[in-house]
């Protein structure tokens, strides 16, 4: 079962997801948003998690900071299962792992000033009291996030999207976490601002030794910032490997389609866009065959069976019948 964990590890990863499942009960049946995910994130690295809307990538991110409870499986942070934390321990855990949200409009309380938003966590955790020291700290955090501290008394609706997102980043940094879930942090921003925010994340990682789970819906955003990339489809990891490997040598047909969607300078004749047909099938009670079967350009009769995530090349995992080694292990 725990295929992804079999690779040799020098040290214990910071985060490890073990056979993680999350089901949501809906009227039509149970929706398996996360279906047996095994992943690890090493200290100091950025893991890119890519997939289309509704594939369970945001759910995975929320499970990681325990905004959601898993149906089964484990979320290990430094070897401790996050699911088992009680209320007090959870508050401590907040100082280690934080999340930056996609929508900078709904992720900031419109009734609070920038200073109030950023200082909230410091007050809740009783690290500071109201006063000069707190305002100084808020100013520092704003510096880190690259937003002028004179905007401290502004309200979110007075700021543009990029600045709002920087406030969200400053808020996440307030507790000096070592791990950040970045849940599509640039998807809602203008392209020109996207690059700035991506650079900010890279600088912060260097400066503060942060570890990231970077969630995105297209590869072009994560390809530069990620050390490794995991591709998710209907609640499962379909491909996992070093960023370069996944981009330049995609093994899963779904990844290939995603790679072909990265905008790039035309390389004569070579670049062919793969357009997937059909819609994502309903994630409610999917049949026990390859999840990508219905839309796969390469589908064959042998694909009509459950597929495992296998290490096809060194440190490169893929969940595809056609890539399985001829002689099964």
């Amino acid at each position: 079962m725990a295929e992804a964990l079999q690779e040799p590890l020098v040290r214990e990863p910071l985060v490890r997801l073990v056979d993680l499942h999350k089901e949501f009960k809906t009227r039509q049946g149970s929706l398996h948003a996360v279906d047996g995910v095994n992943l690890h994130i090493n200290q100091g690295e950025t893991l890119g998690l890519v997939g289309e809307s509704g594939c369970g990538k945001s759910t995975t991110g929320r499970l990681l900071v325990r905004l959601l409870e898993a149906t089964s499986g484990q979320v290990l942070f430094r070897g401790t299962d996050v699911q088992s934390l009680n209320r007090g321990e959870l508050k401590e855990f907040a100082r280690k792992a934080q999340i930056v949200f996609q929508d900078p409009f709904s992720s900031l309380d419109p009734r609070m000033s920038v200073a109030e938003i950023i200082s909230e966590a410091l007050l809740v955790h009783k690290l500071y009291r109201q006063g000069k020291a707190l305002r100084k700290r808020v100013g520092e955090l704003m510096d880190y996030a690259g937003i002028a501290s004179r905007l401290m008394n502004s309200y979110p609706h007075e700021l543009d999207g990029g600045r709002r997102q920087r406030v969200g980043i400053a808020r996440a940094l307030a507790l000096e976490p070592e791990f950040l879930v970045l849940d599509e942090p640039v998807s809602a921003l203008d392209v020109s601002i996207q690059a700035q925010i991506l650079n900010l994340f890279e600088d912060l990682q260097q400066e503060l030794q942060l570890t990231y789970l970077f969630i995105a819906h297209d590869l072009s955003v994560v390809k530069h910032i990620s050390d490794r990339i995991a591709v998710m489809y209907m609640g499962q990891i379909v491909e996992l490997g070093a960023a370069d490997e996944v981009i330049h040598n995609p093994l899963h047909p779904y990844t290939e389609a995603l790679v072909s969607a990265i905008p790039r300078m035309a390389r004569r004749g070579e670049h062919q866009r793969i357009i997937l047909e059909g819609d994502v099938p309903s994630p409610i009670d999917p049949p026990a065959i390859c999840r990508f079967y219905g839309r796969c350009p390469l589908r064959q009769e042998i694909c009509r069976r459950p597929v495992e995530l296998l290490e096809v090349e060194p440190d490169h995992f893929v969940r595809c019948v056609l890539r399985e080694p001829a002689s099964p292990r």
Binding site: I99, S106, E120, V124, G168
Partner: protein, 306 residues
Amino acid sequence: MAIQVRNQTTGESMPPPPVSGGTGRKQRTRLEETWRRFRKNGWAMSGMVLLLFLAVVAIGADFVAPEGLDEQQLGRRFVPPSAEALLGTDHLGRDILSRIIHGSRLSLSIGFITTSIGLLIGGGLGAVAGYYGGSRDQAIMRIMDVILAVPGFIFAVALVTALGPNLTNLMIAVGVNSIPYFARIIRSSVMSVKENEYIEAARALGCSHTWIILRHVIPNSFAPILVQATLRIGDTIIIAAGLSFLGLGAQPPLPEWGAMLSGGRQYLRDAWWMATFPGIAIMFTVLAFNLVGDGLRDALDPRLKN
């Protein structure tokens, strides 16, 4: 910039500096924006002026009223409106105008106190129901349904009859009757507010549920609550006056408007002013609250208009 003035209670510096590099349009706070829209609404403003007038009269009743609330001068019973008594006198020779002025205190306090009871209890229950959902939601809201299933006035009559007719019990009865209205409106507004990502962000930061409800959910559900409260004050004044009219609320000699109306009823043929003027006072007070409430609703959420 000049030395910033610190707000003593919150420790924040104020006022907020203007945001440069913006669109050039002067940034307004929500409050200013709301006030600007409210001011443009003539009806709402007249309601507001009326309320301010009422408030001044009620607060300064002892100075404004020509006579005390129970000064009987049996030699001048049933005097019609005249220079001697502007709105006439009643069957005990008491000055109607003075009694109405003193009664404004009663009616306004009844309105505010009963609405506060409904707002605090109903608001708390509604916030819990909306925030947590599930079985707590079901339990609370079904009890609210039970209260709502009994017509408000009959409910209040039953409660006052059981507890005994006096002003305190009247306020309890009308207050309890207001609870479901607040519970419902606050529940729905909390349910929409809690879907925002800033609630998740607060949870991820380690804030407790109580903190989140008090610091994020309630401030952001404030607008509909304010509107409902204003409108509800008018309603409770009417219900309270109705109960007093039936003898279930304020007891003589208290100059409660409903009670005055009831007292004047028997003399309606000969002394029309006894019942008419308290009735007009009730009407204008309730009208003022409704105008302000509607105005607030339009001003707080321009999308709701029409």
